[in-house]
Symmetry: C2
Subunit: 186 residues, 2 copies
């Protein structure tokens, strides 16, 4: 494995309400010195929930996405709060955005978004044994909940408003995981 | 379909060498007024290439990722240059980062990263019929090329350094697409 570059300096170049941008000067093991910019991320990271209403039905949400100025169909997600665990945050987001809580929660994996310039980490949690339970969130309008069959994932990917890479990767992983578990139980 | 929020104002709050952050004030159709911050993206977007060396072997790269300060195993990618087409950019990145060019290139889908606050779009291109062809890129050190079998995708996802959601989503989509094509030809 190549030796990691040595960090020569890290400097904040901009800080806004939500974002923190740093300039990093690095020396690679071959002597090359490079200056990069990177976005710092929330130290707790985020959760992305895959809520399974039954063996095949996942609950998606359709929500306004300000970055692209349109409604997007994706899995519920949100930042983990300080002192909150990953599974606890997943259950909270599920109650706030979907109106369900889960008796069974397990972490499947963790994703990065754009590791070249963004430190953000998203933990993926599969939620099962759901029951209706709503908790008020900070959403500006009611969120539409859209049940979808994992066995019809291909059809979902043809929808114009389902584009988020994290949700798509998580749906494939959980679909394959549940299929394998099902085959193991058969 | 819910009516899109009305944009009341857009204001630049920070601009650095790489990033452009805007504050957006919106009025939702129910009258709620909200202020968001969002990252603007390159107008051309980015490409992510799935280079297939043969029917089952994809070529990954292991490269330093400044956002998370470690080496990451992922698909080759990069920003599209002004006046460059999606497939042209994919072939250029392939030559620069992997040392191959492709006789067959086709766009599979387009991903967003974090549509809630980031306008970035990544176009996914499947590259086939490869031949050795190197073009000098702007990488600070030699990139390690790692062949991996799509039939062993599950094993890849267990690697600590393979975390990027776009690459994972693209690998699943291309794996399923090629399997279906293969079944159709059988």
């Amino acid at each position: 494995m190549t030796q990691k570059p040595r960090i020569i300096s890290v400097q904040t170049v901009a800080r806004t309400r939500l974002f923190h941008i740093e300039a990093v000067v690095l020396e690679f093991s071959n002597g090359t010195v490079v200056s990069y910019e990177r976005l710092s991320a929330s130290p707790q990271g985020a959760v992305l929930v895959v809520p399974m209403l039954d063996e095949d039905t996942v609950l998606l949400i359709r929500e306004y996405a300000a970055g692209v100025h349109r409604y997007e169909l994706a899995l519920p997600k949100g930042l983990i709060e300080p002192q909150e665990g990953v599974l606890e945050a997943a259950n909270r987001e599920l109650m706030e955005e979907v109106g369900y809580a889960a008796r069974r929660l397990r972490q499947v994996t963790s994703f990065t978004l754009a590791p070249g310039y963004f430190g953000h980490v998203t933990h993926v949690v599969c939620a099962q044994d759901l029951y209706p339970q709503r908790r008020p969130g900070d959403e500006p309008e009611e969120i539409e909940v859209v049940p979808w069959r994992l066995s019809e994932l291909k059809k979902l990917l043809l929808q114009d408003d389902c584009t988020e890479a994290r949700s798509i990767a998580a749906l494939f992983m959980v679909r394959d995981m549940l299929r394998e578990e099902d085959a193991g139980n058969a």
